[in-house]
């Protein structure tokens, strides 16, 4: 949302000749007003994506650096929204998971109808050690399942982190893939299998 505010700051500045670099003028109220004005004519279906929930509001307000009490409240609230699979195993098909991890499609207003979203995991994480193209915003996940001893409870924790990273790390930069319905339960299971299957390339030595 801060990113969105930055995008919106330029047109505001030209219209009202206020420097966008001056943090004093970028009050939450100003940002809210700018967003409301910008998306006034947008499709109703888009509105949930430009309306902040309490967690986003807090993280924007604190620039992703919440106080301990705020961080605890975020983790508690986001944990309460977790929808875990009914079955004990959260491991799907790692081959599908690999494709989802490599797929950066989806989430765009310009998407063709029926576009299936990917996880775009490699944009931020190293996963399979053999893959040479990956981002470093998030920690490396190479050897993830192996280093977690392939424990089922660790796989469930990984499912929870993909479903809603803020249930583990308050104001995490990672999208809430399940919570925001970017990925389906089966897609998240496939990604967890990519992390946890002993024969997945992620766990190659």
């Amino acid at each position: 949302m801060i990113f969105l505010a930055a995008l919106l700051a330029a047109p505001i500045a030209s219209a009202q000749t206020i420097s966008p670099a001056d943090p004093a003028t970028a009050s939450p109220a100003r940002v809210d007003a700018a967003i409301a004005a910008t998306f006034a004519g947008a499709a109703v279906a888009w509105m949930p994506r430009v309306t902040q929930d309490e967690t986003q509001r807090l993280c924007s307000l604190r620039r992703n650096e919440p106080t301990q009490a705020e961080a605890d409240s975020i983790v508690a609230r986001e944990s309460a929204t977790l929808v875990m699979p009914a079955e004990t195993t959260v491991l799907g098909n790692w081959r599908n998971g690999e494709k989802i991890a490599q797929n950066g499609q989806g989430g765009q207003f310009s998407d063709a109808p029926g576009t299936v979203s990917g996880g775009n995991c490699y944009a931020c994480h190293q996963m399979a050690p053999a893959e040479i193209s990956y981002g470093t915003l998030g920690p490396t996940l190479a050897g993830y399942g192996r280093l977690h001893d392939f424990k089922p409870e660790a796989a469930r924790a990984a499912y929870a982190k993909v479903y809603n990273p803020q249930s583990a790390f308050a104001c995490s930069s990672m999208p809430r893939f399940g919570h925001n319905k970017i990925l389906t339960e089966q897609q998240i299971k496939d990604i967890v299998a990519y992390l946890f299957a002993p024969d997945s390339p992620v766990n190659a030595p």
Binding site: Q68, S79, A142, A157, S167, F169
Partner: protein
């Protein structure tokens, strides 16, 4: 010093997070038993280390982080590594994503996450080693095998 640590341990128990704070399966922060319990005023810890002829090191960690787990399991568990570090360093662990207030050896104070950003910590695990004046003397980043890791800690103890 021992009563202070005992007091801190008791306080930590009392301050334990309520169970409802985590519906998700919990993950332990990787930790060595010989890491130092700290009130997170690292000026004190640096003075204590210096008085004992040691140096202060900070270990930046993250729950569930694979290279952190690997470092603990394959490197810090090595008898030569942990013997050398314990003899020459006091190690305080910080949470890369944490929100506890910490005062650094140079006197600056911030919560852990903004402090990690301010210190340009690339990611967990990272070790920062300080000199007695509170200046960072060395930085060790990412997973390293015992030989490489130990060599960097040895180098950090050599006289300037």
């Amino acid at each position: 010093m021992i009563p202070r640590r005992a007091l801190l341990a008791a306080a930590t128990l009392l301050a334990a997070r309520p169970a409802h704070a985590r519906a998700a399966p919990d993950e332990e922060m990787p930790r060595e038993p010989w890491f130092i319990d700290s009130f997170l005023d690292l000026r004190d810890d640096n003075a204590t280390a210096t008085a004992a002829g040691k140096r202060l090191a900070i270990a930046w960690e993250l729950r569930g982080c694979p290279p952190c787990i690997a470092l603990h399991r394959l490197t810090l568990s090595n008898p030569m590594v942990c013997a050398f570090i314990q003899t020459h360093f006091d190690v305080v662990a910080l949470d890369f994503a944490g929100a506890r207030q910490v005062t650094f050896p140079d006197g600056t104070t911030a919560a852990e996450k903004p402090m990690a950003r301010r210190q340009n910590i690339a990611g967990p695990p990272t070790f920062q080693i300080f000199d007695p004046t509170g200046r960072e003397a060395a930085r060790i980043e990412g997973f390293l095998d015992p030989v490489a890791f130990l060599a960097l800690f040895r180098a950090a103890t050599a006289p300037a």
